[in-house]
Symmetry: none
Subunit: 152 residues, 2 copies
DNA sequence: TCCTCCAAGGTCAGACAAAGTCAAAACTCA
DNA sequence: TGAGTTTTGACTTTGTCTGACCTTGGAGGA
């Protein structure tokens, strides 16, 4: 017997179709499948994760919604690049990587400057090992975004 | 179901058009949209905030009015704007401010997205009060840079 | 002049209407 | 049988909308 979560996943994929995003109502969906609303969250949390290429946005309150967004994948070699950042990242190394990105035309000079400011030593004012860990995390997210190829 | 607040927001934005300010009558507007007058205040309070680049002025009594003023970002209130970030900054508030910066053509859509990713909840994975403090610091640096070209 | 009334707009708490969280119970499968 | 996965439901948080009551300012009359 197929699991409900899988059925709901298939349903959502089908609903997505060729579109890159879709709006659903958590409660309606739950009632359609006669399950607890939190089951929908479970499906979203386990099947529509960032590493499978999905983002979830939502709003609570009256007229609330849940939006599933598909972020087009590019290559897998790029995961290696993201991983190469490691757990800590110095300002100098980040600058090198930003320059590389600029040479590859993945970012503009202005974007490079903004990011240098945003993740500068001064902006991340905290103990150094912590600082470099935070910088690494932020930078990985940026890389993921830039490399994931939704080139608008 | 489209939310009334969103509809009223759109209406007001359209009424503003290219102008930098517009006068409305709270009661007339409420009656036009068949809603409680306080709904107008709700829209004003949640959508036309300083974070998004608006100021509200009003006067009570006979001949009273409500004025929506769009404040050009670059004017001279730079310090006030940077200060308005405060010691902590939620993702949502940052998003509003980024949208405002984009409207003022101080950043592009791509730059906005990069910064949203860089300073997302996921990127700043740490206790929430710490996270919002870090975000505030980074964002202030960005603002300073964008507004003054000050990149120290 | 001053006072009173009326015509604005303001505030706030509460009713709803969503979605989120978390942990316990139930289930699966090696 | 035990670890991992799924399902459920009680409780929380957030966003929207309304209505009762409050405050302010101006106009006009005594």
């Amino acid at each position: 017997m197929a699991k409900l979560s899988d059925i709901i996943e298939q349903f959502l994929l089908k609903t997505l179709g060729d579109e890159n995003e879709v709006d659903i109502s958590r409660n309606e969906l739950a009632s359609f499948f006669s399950c607890a609303p939190s089951q929908i969250n479970y499906v979203l949390d386990t099947r529509f994760t960032i590493d499978r290429g999905y983002l979830i946005e939502s709003q609570r309150g009256g007229g609330g919604f849940v939006k599933i967004i598909r972020v087009p994948f590019k290559d897998d070699a790029e995961n290696a690049i993201v991983e190469s950042v490691g757990g800590e990242l110095s300002f100098k190394r980040m600058t090198h990587m930003l320059e590389n990105l600029q040479n590859e035309n993945l970012i503009t000079n202005h974007e490079k400057e903004i990011l240098q400011v945003a993740l500068s030593e001064a902006a991340l004012e905290m103990p150094i090992n912590l600082r470099e860990a935070v910088r690494a995390k932020c930078f990985k997210r940026i890389l993921l975004f830039l490399l994931k190829g939704n080139d608008q």
